[in-house]
Symmetry: none
Subunit: 211 residues, 4 copies
DNA sequence: CATGAATGAGACTTCATTCAT
DNA sequence: TATGAATGAAGTCTCATTCAT
């Protein structure tokens, strides 16, 4: 009965990556609930059943995407902070550029949009994402601010609040990029790097201990 | 047999308001797609059919919520800016407090979360929301920054980027409040007013023309 | 878009009965797992969605069938035993005839087949059916045997074992009727009433205290 | 690299047996439709593909199980009846004990449960099982009853009905063992041998020609 | 002979919307 | 106006069977 014309390809090695890539794209595009597992499969070039061979549920697929696309990235950032030699202002500037290049400007950032929108409907994902992404990211920026204070470069302000204020615009821009930025809408254009530079200049001026 | 103490006549007039309130709550809680029209109706104390008597589709209901809950608010902010007498730093501080009290800290802010998450699935809502909310909000902050520059209080920086940098943390916090803030998740607590004050202090220090 | 030609019938009162009847037929015919909820609906003349309006899941539908078709029947049998005036041998004969007419020879008996076959796959149904049907049926026959012994009509044998021996052929025949009896198979015909009469004669002869 | 101590050659010959054993267990446990072919394979220690190498479909696998586990058994019973020397009452008692030990109390009896439950969904199996199991089993008991009548030990009752009445409780108990008996359910315990002895005593008393 | 990756029909259940009353 | 019964498209996940290796 099966007239399937194309040869079934057997590629256990590369399948997970292809599925993860397709899933990322679609989750970002449609959101978690609105992404149909069949479409993930089709976009990865396999059948519905194959997807479930690798990931037992849509929720697990999502977690796998988070792990591969986000967790890793943050760990790398943390490494950079540990080994950086220059001033903390420069470190923050560099952190921000890298962040934008490797995260804000890639599909990965769209995941955050999805999580923000749908955690309340999928409580299990909430703690997972908090542990896997939010807490580590927080630590990354907090430890950087602490470094600045410890080295006498920054004023002694509440570390966590400053860290949040630093991250906020980056996340805001990433969200924007994956919502309105992806729609053909007039009047909402913005230049992310310009905004980020402007805001970092402002904040650094505010942070630095005056001569 | 009718034990309902509320006179029937009075009800009719308040129906739309009750429906809008219920819809706002639920859209914020669940998102647009995940909100079931039946639950909106039930929470407003009417039947499913009645909801459709007032709003011909879920999408129209959503637009009505936006119009009533957001557009108005921004207009009021614009009025305040026009009539404010003090320094622009004080104006921004006041703007921020009011914004948090009347928007960031109310369900209304949750709507933004919903829009960010689902615009791409409901393209018609994109332009509507951009025109109705984003552009006016932008104008509100841009004009305030311009005022500061015009009065010599602020340095002459790119107005629009500064405005975005000012709004970003507020929006970030509002989104957070309606996503992780509403989940029983550990490790992601933050004090919005402290963050906002910290960030505004930093930015104002960076904005002000040095003596 | 809906071209539905037939007028939607609104019959909240009679729907549950129609659904229960259709469900009984199909469960008996196909078994629990193999019965598709859509077919239950179709056979009751409604759409798939309507079924779920009345019963929230296939499992609940099944329980409702059991309650309506079995539990009631056993209760009526119990009443009869309580008010019967004649000899216990006659009571058993009557019980058996009624049982066959009102249960063994009706679709209701097929339910037992289904339960026997599928309890192990649906553990929740096991206790439900044990409490709702098996235990009461046991009580019905045990109390009758006890009556015979108490009145000196029967020898003092282990009550519960005798009760089981009495029920066994009835149940066996009912199962047979709904499995092979419903298939066009040669060589397995049997006349239930003849078997039951033969077996009851044998057992009563064995039970009775010899003159 | 191969740590498998079993020589490969030996395996090949025992494969079918291992598959049949695994299939029996699972069919009894889950039923025919609910048994997944992959699990049969896994329990037999081979891959899914290998199963299909030996049996072209689940249905053929099932038939093979019936042939090996049931047909043989009945043939042996028939032999015993032919060569038995004592009274027919003793023969029946012995038959019953052997039946319970070698069939009722083994997984094989569970097959009958499966067939009863699912014949209607797999019509081809109906005639197969009738020819292979039901008719021979019937003959086994009928011929025994005939022997008793021919030797003047039993009253001249309808042979086939008596045979059915004799088998019924055994089958009933076997079914029970593999359904409720396998579930952790309260209130449905019974002692099979006690029931069988009780019923056989009753029936033999009824069968025997009074002195 | 043996493997296990791949397929896709099919099952249960949800929910926006309609419409008879 | 108001109700809520009814519809049916759509979505997640399962599993018998096939086939490239």
């Amino acid at each position: 009965m099966s007239l399937d014309p194309r040869p079934r390809q057997r590629r256990k090695e590369t399948r997970p990556q292809e599925l993860l890539d397709a899933a990322l794209e679609l989750f970002v595009e449609k959101g978690f609930a609105a992404t149909r597992s069949e479409e993930v499969a089709r976009r990865a070039g396999v059948s519905k059943g194959t997807l479930y061979l690798y990931y037992p549920s849509k929720e697990e697929l999502f977690k796998a995407v988070v792990r591969q696309k986000l967790s890793q990235l943050i760990a790398e950032g943390q490494d950079m902070v540990g080994s950086f030699g220059g001033s903390t202002s420069d470190l923050l500037r560099q952190l921000m550029h890298i962040w934008w290049e490797r995260f804000g400007n890639t599909p990965a950032a769209g995941i955050h949009k999805v999580v923000i929108a749908e955690v309340r409907n999928f409580p299990e994902l909430a703690q997972f994402y908090a542990d896997e992404v939010i807490t580590p990211a927080d630590r990354l920026f907090s430890s950087t601010v602490e470094r600045g204070i410890a080295r006498g470069e920054f004023r002694a302000l509440p570390v966590h609040d400053v860290a949040t204020a630093l991250m906020a615009p980056m996340i805001f821009l990433a969200l924007h990029r994956h919502s309105f930025g992806a729609c053909p809408v007039h009047g909402v254009e913005m230049d992310p790097m310009a905004v980020l530079n402007t805001q970092l200049d402002l904040v650094l001026r505010g942070l630095e201990t005056r001569a």
